[in-house]
């Protein structure tokens, strides 16, 4: 059972969290988006081995945030409130 640092609530057990996706998977708007680009947004993931940056939601407070962790040793290096980088707007 891992401990994740919710930027709003502090460290909590992983069962309180839900995975939101890889950080930086920006949504392309519009009906003119190519099929490849849209499929990339919907389905294609890097699934990195090692350091990752991901979006998680703390279900008990409802807040989404970005978390950096290592997919091999499960070490969490930090988490942050969603900023403009994640909004992509």
């Amino acid at each position: 059972m891992q401990l994740f640092p919710c930027p709003f609530c502090g460290p909590r057990e992983e069962s309180e969290f839900h995975y939101g996706g890889e950080a930086g998977n920006l949504r392309p708007d519009g009906s003119e988006v190519t099929a490849e680009r849209w499929a990339g947004y919907l389905h294609m993931r890097d699934n990195p081995k090692g350091p990752t940056r991901e979006i998680w939601v703390h279900l008990t407070c409802g807040e989404f945030f970005a978390m950096s962790r290592d997919s091999v040793n499960h070490k969490v290096s930090g988490s942050s409130v969603l900023g403009e980088a994640e909004h992509g707007a």
């Binding site: 059972m1 009906s31 849209w38 989404f64 969490v76």
Partner: protein, 959 residues
């Protein structure tokens, strides 16, 4: 002569408190403080179980969790525990202990004959032999012959197992000298400490081996240290096994209670973990080394000093290291004749008085049937013996370290794997870390606490220090006779050789092919001998062969303990209506629908007839039903209109305040995720009325898009579903009933037309009245504070009486909506259904603004003409409804293929014939076509029609 109780001695037992229990029906005497194993040994019981596969007689081998043989069923007043280790369970007066995998008793097992065929039953024999025609034909009988204890299927927990979450600075696993030194050091530095030990008494080896700490006799130092920890407020848990070490330093503990109460599960999250888990003595490989009365030498010493039990009178000790000499000397001093067979040249240096030492000798084979009677040495001589003690070196208990993904390192000096490179937050100390002498163990304990150690100096051993001097004494290939590697899984050296010959040379393959190191034992005594043999056969070093993965739990944990309170109705709690008691009083029969407990129908009559009656009467005058489960998620804020436009497939920003609109929410892949009505209360305030079973998921999606795309200050989302009850009046006379409620709202159709909303009051409480219909008849949904709903519901029934109002359960409501072709998401749609498959194609082509899932509607799949589309299926009067899930079928190129399936199907009492909804390939263009519908091999005909079978013009909504 065999094992017996001495007249004095035994630090763990209380000779003033005798007790007795039965083993396989025979009475066994013991004392308080005995384990089942020590009492059995004292009573002279040699055979305590039968082996897993060959039904070989097996006796007690160890004195703790390492015990591979002595698994027993323990029956007591609180229930029956299967596969308990006799060495770790305290003897209690009156319990009934039974051997496992033996019938009628361990001593006289009727399947013992299996062992004579052992040469025909090598590893994987069953897999290879019973392939044809089908393994499942043979499986039940083979399973009945093999295996261990039997689960009591009638067992019911008498009380819920406690689960405790705990935080501390330092958790120390193992209360031997190293663990105690660690705990004492951290406590002295002012940190909070939890010290756990799987035995009843702390002290580890100091409880039965000689030792002196800072001038104090070992046991006295243990007692003083524990007393000081406890008086300092530290938590010391005995009879508690740390069975799993998980991510981020979570340690799971299984605490057993001597009063027979259910085990407690502890989840401890320390800042630092000290593993002082000790080491387990290894068996010595020789033929028939599994005979009863062949024990670990350390266990024999433990039984002598803790329980006053002498394990034999004529004892042979086989060893490759120094640790066996203290047991040898102590047993000789207790009156046994002791011969040490030491494979080393310099054996014997520490032998006590009366101990004969044969240096440079090894045992080739043990002799005996149900107990050892003698041994054959490598020089051809034989020795008579009523007990053989073995010490093949020590295997550090690295399980928890390995679970923490710690890498192991091979030590030639110790002939064992020890923890290698340190793992963050975890210290190792004592025998598990390779410490041999008491001083080393104590020093490593204090050091293992890392930053949590106290500055004062660690305790020191002040007596004679232990040495090991171990040499390798591994099983050799091509040895004559059967050399047992894994007692619990019945694996011999020949099985390992066979596996290697068949190229199962990876240690993980060896494990699975032979079952070496499997089951509850997890190879505690056997792993290293097996690895060493495989290394020898394949010409590799042991370090190169490596170990298998150590997985939790270290020892078995009762499911009841892991489950805790999450059982029965607490396993997946249902959501309940605020008016549940009222519905029950009215005869409501409840069922679970999407996590909600709701009335399926009312009345004590037969279900089918009651449901038909409700659905028929609903169309005649007035029906009342409880729609409180409908989602009520408020979306508020300056960008709320823009937000709902993005969330919904349909344009919602054009909705006028005071009105409602039906629409779909899509997933990003274009599939219809939810449907429902959106209410606009004012310019910046909407209510998302989503499907009952979908509220949590819809709320989560709204939050995700809000935070991801709109920002915190633009929109506020509040799930108010449980705050309101929604009570619905439907039917041709609905308006008269609502008018009689005196809500103070204008109800004429000009003021409150279909799909409009009005505010009113009932008994001083605000109510919201929405003209939204799920029945196809004029309907009023009245929402009120949940805790004030009862009076409104009572009034509605009272006013409805004049109109012969009927209460609707969910089943009849389903008929009414199906008559109208109204869909239920997830029932009438599946994971491919897009909005244009449901006949709502407008926004797809006309909307200019962005919305969730938009681009996916124009993918190759989204553009296909042969998509499954929503249709109605008509049958002739008098026919039975189609089965839900039945497939539409057609023959193409000689092959039968599915063209879709029935999603909803009911008998309509109003129409007098069945109504059905289906998703059928190209269905929208096939109205009027008759198709074959197949279910369980029966083919029927149905005609594709529009989904709406009743009042297609919708005139009743306004009637």
């Amino acid at each position: 002569m065999s094992a017996s109780r001495l007249t004095a001695g035994g630090s763990d037992i209380d000779r003033d408190r005798p007790l007795s229990f039965t083993f396989d029906g025979r009475r066994v005497e013991g004392f308080a403080g005995d384990t089942i194993a020590s009492a059995l040994l004292a009573s002279g019981q040699a055979v305590v179980g039968r082996s897993f596969k060959y039904h070989r007689p097996r006796g007690i081998w160890g004195s703790g969790v390492e015990e591979p043989n002595a698994l027993v069923d323990v029956g007591s007043a609180v229930g029956r525990v299967p596969n308990a280790r006799a060495t770790t369970v305290q003897a209690v007066d009156g319990i009934k202990v039974r051997s496992v995998n033996a019938s009628p008793t361990a001593e006289n097992d009727r399947n013992a004959v299996l062992d004579r065929f052992a040469r025909f039953l090598p590893a994987a024999f069953y897999y290879k032999t019973f392939m044809w025609p089908d393994w499942h034909l043979f499986e039940p009988r083979i399973r009945a012959m093999a295996g261990l204890g039997v689960v009591d299927s009638d067992w019911k927990p008498r009380q819920v197992s406690d689960q405790v979450n705990h935080h501390c600075d330092v958790l120390v696993v193992g209360a031997g000298p190293a663990g105690l030194a660690a705990a004492a050091s951290a406590a002295a530095a002012g940190h909070s400490v939890v010290l756990v030990d799987d035995r009843t008494h702390p002290g580890g080896s100091l409880r039965h081996r000689a030792g002196e700490v800072d001038g104090v006799e070992g046991k006295a130092w243990v007692d003083a240290t524990v007393a000081e920890l406890k008086s300092g407020g530290q938590l010391v848990l005995s009879d508690t096994t740390a069975f799993g070490l998980y991510d981020h330093n979570l340690v799971a503990l299984n605490q057993r209670h001597s009063d027979g109460g259910p085990d407690t599960l502890w989840r401890v999250r320390p800042r630092r973990i000290v593993l002082a888990t000790g080491a387990i003595e290894r068996p010595v490989p020789f033929a028939n080394n599994d005979l009863p009365r062949i024990l670990s030498a350390d266990a024999a010493l433990s039984y002598l000093r803790r329980h006053g039990v002498l394990v034999g009178r004529e004892i042979v000790v086989a060893t490759n290291n120094d640790s066996a000499y203290e047991p040898a000397s102590a047993l000789a001093a207790a009156g046994a004749s002791v011969t040490v067979v030491d494979c080393r040249r310099e054996g014997g240096a520490q032998a006590g008085t009366g101990v004969r030492v044969l240096a440079s000798r090894t045992i080739m084979a043990a002799r005996g049937r149900n107990a050892v009677q003698g041994v054959l040495l490598d020089d051809g001589t034989t020795l008579a013996a009523d007990c053989v003690l073995v010490s093949g070196g020590w295997t550090p208990t690295v399980h928890l370290f390995s679970q923490a993904k710690g890498k192991l390192a091979w030590s030639d000096q110790l002939a064992a794997f020890i923890p290698g490179e340190a793992v963050d937050g975890i210290g190792v100390a004592g025998a598990v870390a390779g410490a041999v002498s008491l001083s080393d163990a104590l020093a490593s304990g204090a050091a293992a606490t890392g930053d949590f150690r106290s500055s004062s100096s660690a305790p020191r051993g002040t007596g004679a220090e232990a040495t090991l001097g171990v040499v390798s004494l591994w099983p050799k290939p091509k040895t004559k006779g059967r050399v047992w590697i894994d007692y619990q899984s019945d694996v011999t050296a020949k099985d390992v050789e066979l596996a290697a010959r068949e190229n199962f040379v990876s240690v993980e393959h060896l494990k699975r092919y032979t079952t070496l190191g499997m089951a509850t034992d997890q190879g505690k005594t056997s792993n290293l001998n097996g690895l060493a043999l495989l290394a020898d056969i394949t010409g590799r070093g042991i370090a190169e062969v490596g170990t298998t993965t150590y997985r939790p739990p270290f020892t078995p944990v009762p499911f009841a303990s892991l489950v805790g309170s999450r059982r029965g109705s607490m396993h997946a709690p249902v959501r309940r209506l605020p008016l549940e008691a009222t519905h029950r009083a009215a005869g409501g029969v409840f069922q679970e629908y999407g996590g909600w407990l709701r009335p399926a129908y009312y009345g004590g009559g037969e279900a089918g007839a009651s449901i038909q009656d409700e659905a028929r009467r609903a169309r005649q005058s007035v029906a009342l039903f409880d729609g409180s489960t409908l989602g009520k998620i408020e979306v508020i804020g300056p960008r709320a209109a823009e937000f709902v436009d993005f969330i919904y497939y349909n344009t919602m920003s054009t909705l006028k305040p005071g009105h409602c609109r039906y629409g779909f929410m899509l997933s990003e892949n274009g599939v219809v995720f939810d449907d429902g009505v959106l209410v606009r209360l004012d310019e910046h305030r909407f209510i998302v009325s989503c499907s009952s079973s979908h509220v949590t998921a819809v709320h989560a999606r709204l939050e995700e898009w809000r935070q991801d795309r709109f920002g915190r200050d633009a929109v506020y989302i509040h799930n108010a579903t449980a705050q309101y009850a929604t009570l619905t009046v439907s039917g041709p006379n609905a308006r008269q009933v609502v008018e009689a409620l005196d809500l103070g709202a204008a109800l004429d159709d000009a003021s409150l037309p279909h799909m409009a909303v009005a505010a009113g009051r009932f008994a001083g409480n605000e109510v919201r009245v929405a003209r939204v219909s799920f029945t196809g008849d004029r309907s009023y949904e009245i929402s009120i504070r949940a805790d004030r709903a009862e009076a409104l519901w009572a009034r509605m029934q009272q006013e409805g009486r004049a109109f012969d109002a009927v209460l609707l359960g969910l089943e009849s409501l389903m008929i009414l909506r199906a008559e109208k072709g109204y869909i239920v998401i997830g029932k009438d749609t599946d994971g491919t259904t897009m909005p244009h498959d449901l006949g709502v194609a407008g926004p797809r082509t006309k909307r200019a603004s962005e919305f969730v899932g938009r681009r996916s509607l124009f993918t190759e799949a989204g553009n296909r003409a042969d998509r499954n589309q929503l249709v109605g299926l008509a049958l002739r009067e008098g026919e039975a409804p189609l089965a839900t899930g039945a497939h539409g079928v057609e023959k193409r190129e000689g092959r039968l293929r599915s063209i879709g399936f029935v999603t909803s199907s009911y008998q309509s009492p109003t129409l007098g014939r069945p109504v059905g909804l289906a998703l059928i390939e190209r269905g929208a263009a096939r109205h009027g076509e008759t198709i074959d519908v197949q279910h369980l091999g029966v083919v029927r005909q149905a005609t594709i029609v529009a989904p709406c079978a009743f009042d297609p013009e919708g005139s009743r909504l306004h009637a």
